[in-house]
Symmetry: C2
Subunit: 328 residues, 2 copies
Amino acid sequence: MKVLITGGAGFIGFRLAQKLVERKVLTAPSGQIEPIDEIVLFDVGQAGEIDQSDSIKITRVAGDISDRATVSGLVDRDDMSIFHLASVVSGGGEKDFDLAVRVNLDGAMNVFEAARSRSGLQRVVMASSIAVFGGPHMPEVVGDTVKQGPQTTYGVTKAIGELLVNDYTRKGFFDGRCARLPTVIIRPGKPNAAASSFVSGVFREPLNGVDFKLPVPVETVMQVVGYRAIVDGLIHLHETDGSQIGVDRALMLRGYTVSAQDMIDALQRVAGDRKLGKITVEPDPFIVAICKTWPRDASYKRAEALGFPCDSGLDEVIAYFIEDYVGD
Amino acid sequence: MKVLITGGAGFIGFRLAQKLVERKVLTAPSGQIEPIDEIVLFDVGQAGEIDQSDSIKITRVAGDISDRATVSGLVDRDDMSIFHLASVVSGGGEKDFDLAVRVNLDGAMNVFEAARSRSGLQRVVMASSIAVFGGPHMPEVVGDTVKQGPQTTYGVTKAIGELLVNDYTRKGFFDGRCARLPTVIIRPGKPNAAASSFVSGVFREPLNGVDFKLPVPVETVMQVVGYRAIVDGLIHLHETDGSQIGVDRALMLRGYTVSAQDMIDALQRVAGDRKLGKITVEPDPFIVAICKTWPRDASYKRAEALGFPCDSGLDEVIAYFIEDYVGD
């Protein structure tokens, strides 16, 4: 079978592809577990090269997800699965509303229509976000049964994606699932345009010997999870039997609540005698305002009951980030 | 100022136009109450003729709301308000998914973008529906703080519209408001494609001497309200100060819960010695299945606090329906 990963040049998309190359199989639209013979990494820019495998053809395609013909051309087999991760992120969406609509709404519709146009019930896993929550009716603890009142354009487009995936699935157009992600840590490389970018930066920059300005007060809390658990969670969501998920196809992938102070403490604990860049607290009103719209806590009951993976906490994630991206 | 009513040939849109002709004024984007000098009734077919007024130019335009240039051409002044009522309804959306997407999503985006393109903060009132509720997480009592899990394409498109109106308003693109309507009774004329069409038919057909097959069991409950209260409610929502509504711009317009048996009883009570068509109970599985996804009860707290109108119950609505549409 063939796997399409949109956002395949992104951190999670690329790691997902690597994991699928190792894994070699997925549940096909037929319901049978089938070998993967083709993976397409689609993104606005060309993805990096992946360790090749003899049995899987890996293609990296750069293009515009808001162009229907482009997306339709990528979904050219009936025995396919799609991981739809491409997205303008939160800070980016606040700065360019039209781009967020084009990529996150038109782009998603193009993916959904392409999947619908094929025979068989293709599995479509879309990345959503905890940013779907917010607004005046938000309770202290968010979760799968809580009203969505997103306060960013990014969150609005993700909430809309969840509604559409539910409806395309209800209509039998494809077999959709939405993974509502907490903030994923620790992203390597450069900061991105997400308002939550600092949540990775606070680990990454000091570990690379770079001083870091924390743009929020240390008591700021957020729901996070390590990238390995998220990649495993996306695959687990793909593999879970649809009848176990039920008609509400969007579920919170597991995470946990930490404060910025917890992050600083864990970093110092795990870093040992490494020389860390210095962290100073310099709140940025733009970031602080977005953080104030985030929930205080979250419930992951459905994902727990469905056996989704989670890591053991910040110490584990920092340790494997050092192994994967920092070195000795 | 100019008023555009999409769905202006529909029952509510047409009555709204009549009411605005009587009312003569609305709050303009400037925040001042201004005289209305132009009303456009836009719909897929030509609206009926309205009692003209000397001071208001009334235009009836037939066209396709999914065509952006058409909609943009209707929003040709800065001192405008828009009542966006055009919609494929529930039964229709279940039968033609693509039409529902084109009219309810693309059409809504066209209206929103047209309003955004003008100077000033145009007020946009969109009709949403209690059909945004449903699914496995729905509580017994729905309301403004309850998660939306729509189980029809119609409900999905309305939930998406609510999210977009909130975001366009948050961004300052226009001053949007969504009226989440219960089932509006009593619609005159022919049955429409809404699954709830019977809720008007059960009154209308017997009052016109026509026998009526009730397609649901008599214990079926729903939230209803009379059409006069809805037209008044749409205007009240337009006129309410935005700061009183807050950032969640979608609110339940007031209604009340009745059973099909309540409807039959009220009809017999109000009809007096009129000769009524006979009502027989003949459940239709397609309609019964949709009704089962409806909420048992609803809370209208926000609308009550904001002084929204409501009628006194079925007897009042039946009485004014006889006055408006049946005669002696």
